[in-house]
């Protein structure tokens, strides 16, 4: 990143895939992600989404932040940083974790790759260099931002393994979920992990920026028979909601960035209590989290199955089927019509009295209809956030 000269005429950086993404991006509709230009929509969000659910989609995820943690205490450092215990992590394993501040409020989440005891790599959505560096105080562990030196693609969908097989990526079908290894795609050394946001079979491919174009081209090599599409951020947003993944600064404010203290959220509120291991000797936020757990969350991020077919984007949630008697009890953070489930789904915060699975709450939906809004009072059922979870996701050997 530092090598490129800064010009006000080009405020955004281009990823190593830009030559290809710009070619595919017929809609010329771009999105800002961590200072990079990535496609929001290539041609049709619906088709891009469908590719991930039906064949395979390719998403440029290069802008993800990547930090290398190296040194004798690398593992101890990770264990201090995140809320879950990774003492037993093995080489080539990936852990999903969150990290909190001293008040037990979530800063960010990420995937943590273990190369060996002394070398980990963290992939996350927000910038965390200062937090990691300050956390490393007292450890023999170095923190380095290596973001610009790795190009990354998410390759998600039922045919993803099949296509990698066709590309003669040896033994890829035996790569277990939340594991990674080094592979070879048409003479290019790449790292492939079985991770992703889609809730289905999928991989993430990490390579040197110089090989980025070749790797991209390889994935499209069998396009005539197995239709692979470049998928944009809009499509990614759809699959991640269906899969029940949450995103900092979309579903909740990162504790490092929230202006108003009461906008910060603890893991129990986000439904991520399973990622907190209070038996672990020490990690940042532990004492606060003990108190949060005892108290129980005041509100909780849940899945909502909403009647009708009008997406409840930005809706306020209420407690009563009768509008005139209703009290506000929450808010929707993300909503969509799910094509694969044929359901009207959403993720939202619901207060204590109503977040139990199966409860009914009500959303006031402002639905645009030919320059006018129709106000819909829709019943919502509180369900698990994970709306879509295909068994393929966890099967090894992988579906081919």
């Amino acid at each position: 990143m530092n090598t490129s000269k800064i010009s006000y005429k080009k405020p955004l950086l281009e990823t190593p895939f830009h030559e290809r993404t710009s070619e595919h991006c017929y809609a010329n509709d771009w999105y800002r992600w961590a200072g990079y230009k990535v496609a929001k929509e290539y041609s049709s969000t619906e088709l891009e989404y469908t590719s991930m659910r039906n064949t395979a989609g390719v998403i440029d995820i290069t802008p993800m932040h990547k930090y290398d943690i190296k040194g004798e205490d690398a593992k101890k450092f990770i264990n201090k940083l995140i809320t879950k215990d990774i003492t037993n992590i093995q080489s080539n394993q990936v852990a999903y974790g969150i990290w909190c501040n001293e008040d037990g409020m979530v800063i960010d989440d990420g995937t943590i790759f273990c190369f060996n005891e002394n070398h980990f790599r963290i992939f996350c959505a927000e910038r965390n260099l200062n937090w990691f560096s300050d956390t490393a105080t007292g450890f023999n562990a170095s923190v380095e931002d290596i973001s610009p030196s790795i190009a990354a693609l998410a390759f998600q969908g039922p045919l993803s393994c099949k296509i990698l097989n066709l590309l003669k990526v040896e033994n890829i079908e035996n790569l277990k979920p939340f594991h990674f290894n080094n592979y070879n795609i048409e003479n290019h050394n790449v790292t492939i992990s079985r991770t992703g946001f889609s809730g289905d079979l999928g991989y993430e491919i990490w390579c040197d920026p110089s090989q980025a174009i070749d790797v991209w081209d390889s994935l499209f090599k069998f396009n005539r028979d197995y239709k692979v599409l470049a998928a944009g951020m809009n499509a990614l947003e759809m699959v991640r909601i269906e899969a029940g993944f949450i995103q900092p600064n979309v579903d909740f404010m990162s504790a490092e960035q929230a202006l108003r203290p009461n906008r910060m959220r603890n893991p129990y509120e986000l439904g991520l209590g399973w990622l907190v291991n209070l038996d672990k000797e020490y990690f940042t936020g532990k004492q606060a989290l003990i108190r949060h757990k005892e108290k129980g969350p005041e509100k909780k991020l849940v899945g909502l199955d909403i009647e009708g077919d009008k997406p409840a984007v930005g809706s306020v949630l209420y407690d009563n089927s009768k509008k005139n008697q209703a009290k506000e009890i929450g808010i929707v953070t993300a909503a969509m019509w799910s094509p694969v489930l044929k359901s009207n789904i959403a993720i939202g915060f619901v207060s204590k009295e109503h977040y139990k699975l199966g409860s009914n709450v009500y959303a006031e939906i402002y639905h645009p209809e030919e320059l006018d809004y129709r106000k819909i009072w829709a019943e919502c059922k509180v369900v698990k956030k994970q709306f879509f979870n295909n068994p393929r996701r966890n099967e090894t050997p992988a579906f081919t």
Binding site: N101, E102, D134, T137, G138, F139, E281, Q287
Partner: protein, 488 residues
């Protein structure tokens, strides 16, 4: 492996007070001191005006006053020195160049400050309340603090609320003309702080000093060494175990609770309660280890400002020391800080991590020896001052007043050396700057105030806590009381 009710790291005066108090309450206490002698930084304290009545009462300590030095002599280049004498806290001019009006105003300023200090003094001896803790006791204490300030009456309260954020130079220049008198009070305000006379907050440090010492000039009325001896005796009497020449390497913890300490020689002592007389940075980053502290807390620890800037100079001369134009019998505290501008210039160097070419001095003379506090000599990171140069600068100042100085022995103890000897990060007299953001409930910082720490059973009792530095023992006493409270 020996077990104790409470282990105290560091036998500074606060550590000794805490240990005496705890053992009087029937606790089995161990004090671990790095050096051969207890007392810590008090070794370098030039003067002690009084022992807090609370300490006297709680520990039954009584130290006799020594009488020889209740004069304050402010030296002037033109040898027209000002001499003030202090009789039981009552000041009067023995000689001065300042006109009568100035003399009167000078004394009235001091009286005013005394009045404000008295109000502040009420907060000094208590555990500071927390803001918005949700606890009734804290709220009550806050309200009672407010009430005490209100009780000053309209006029005085207004003046207090104004001068609390003011700088000493402005207040003096508004009222006085004499450079010498202004220098004298400015000296007392800035000595041991990271402030110059023109830095806002420099009146507050003076009020603080008065509140703690019960005298703005902090005269040498009590032998510090004698006080420390008494404290040590008090410990011994109460069967406190003191081990000297032993350095703590690590505070041991398990599940966020203290279990004991380990010495550099590997020896381990067990206890559920450990008090650290060390400064906050040393305690948290070295003894405890950042690994078990929350990241936000580490940030605050690192941000604690603790750059010391006073050096101690000890000189032995060939002949008995006579000061120009001062009667031989007239002993007392000598101050060389001739005017606001001089001090401010000395302070300028400090900002850029340089020693003052023209330093300010406060010194005592005892026949052939002289010992002085020299400022500003800032603490340096990764390097050290050329000590001989500093001594030379001091001697050139002193030789204005002491004819024919033939130095037999000289020794300069810079903040860096104090750091080394006492493990005080930054070599700061008060373990950390005395500025509003590091006082009261914010001392040393959020999450560590009120003597407790994020670790169960670990307490701070050094000058890094409220009410800060000075040989008061209040920090140790308050911390010990807190331990007793928690032991219940």
């Amino acid at each position: 492996m020996k077990k104790f009710d409470v282990i105290i790291i560091g036998g500074g005066h606060n550590g000794l007070v805490a240990s005496s108090y705890l053992s009087k309450k029937g606790k089995k206490v161990l004090v671990i001191e790095k050096n051969e002698n207890v007392g810590g930084l008090a070794e370098y304290a030039e003067s002690l005006n009084c022992i807090s009545p609370i300490i006297k009462k709680e520990l039954g300590i009584n130290v006799n006053n020594i009488n020889h030095s209740n004069n304050i002599i402010s030296l002037e280049d033109n040898q027209n020195h000002t001499i003030l004498s202090d009789k039981n806290g009552k000041l009067s001019f023995v000689q001065t160049n300042a006109d009568e009006n100035d003399q009167k105003k000078f004394l009235s300023i001091i009286n005013n400050y005394k009045l404000f200090s008295k109000t502040l003094g009420a907060f000094m001896f208590q555990k500071p309340p927390r803001v918005k803790s949700g606890k009734r006791a804290d709220l009550f204490q806050l309200i009672s603090m407010g009430w005490k300030i209100r009780k000053l009456g309209k006029k005085n309260m207004r003046e207090l609320l104004r001068v609390i954020g003011l700088n000493i130079a402005d207040d003096l220049e508004d009222n006085l003309n004499s450079n010498n008198l202004m220098g004298l009070l400015s000296h007392e305000a800035v000595l041991g702080t990271n402030l110059g006379p023109r830095s806002p907050g420099s009146i507050l440090t003076l009020l603080y000093k008065q509140a703690i010492n019960d005298n703005i000039f902090n005269l040498n009325k009590i032998e510090v060494a004698e006080y420390i001896n008494q404290l040590e005796d008090c410990c011994n009497k109460n069967t406190v175990e003191i081990i000297k020449s032993s350095e703590v390497k690590k505070i041991l913890t398990q599940n966020n609770s203290v279990t004991g300490v380990q010495l550099t020689n590997g020896e381990v002592f067990e206890s559920k309660y450990v008090m650290s007389n060390a400064d906050p940075k040393t305690t948290y980053l070295n003894l405890l280890g950042a690994e078990i502290l929350d990241t936000d807390f580490i940030r605050r620890t690192k941000n604690f400002r603790n750059k010391g800037n006073v050096a101690k100079l000890e000189l032995a001369l060939e002949n008995e020391i006579n000061i120009n134009n001062i009667d031989k019998k007239m002993n007392g505290k000598f101050i060389y800080a001739p005017g606001i501008k001089y001090i401010e210039h000395a302070f300028n160097a400090n900002k850029y991590n340089k020693y003052s070419e023209n330093p300010c001095l406060e010194f005592y003379v005892n026949q052939k020896t002289l010992s002085a506090n020299v400022y500003y000599v800032p603490y340096l990171i990764n390097t050290n001052h050329k000590e001989n140069e500093i001594i030379e600068r001091c001697v050139s100042v002193l030789s204005k007043f002491i004819p024919d100085m033939k130095i037999v022995k000289q020794k300069l103890i810079t903040p860096n050396k104090m750091e080394e000897k006492f493990n005080i990060t930054g070599g700061h007299w008060h373990h950390g700057d005395l500025e509003i953001d590091q006082l009261l409930m914010m001392r040393p910082f959020y999450g560590s105030a009120q003597y407790s720490t994020p670790i169960n059973g670990l307490y701070l009792c050094g000058a890094g806590t409220h009410p800060g530095g000075g040989v008061t023992g209040i920090n140790g006493l308050n911390a010990a009381k807190k331990v007793i409270e928690d032991l219940k």
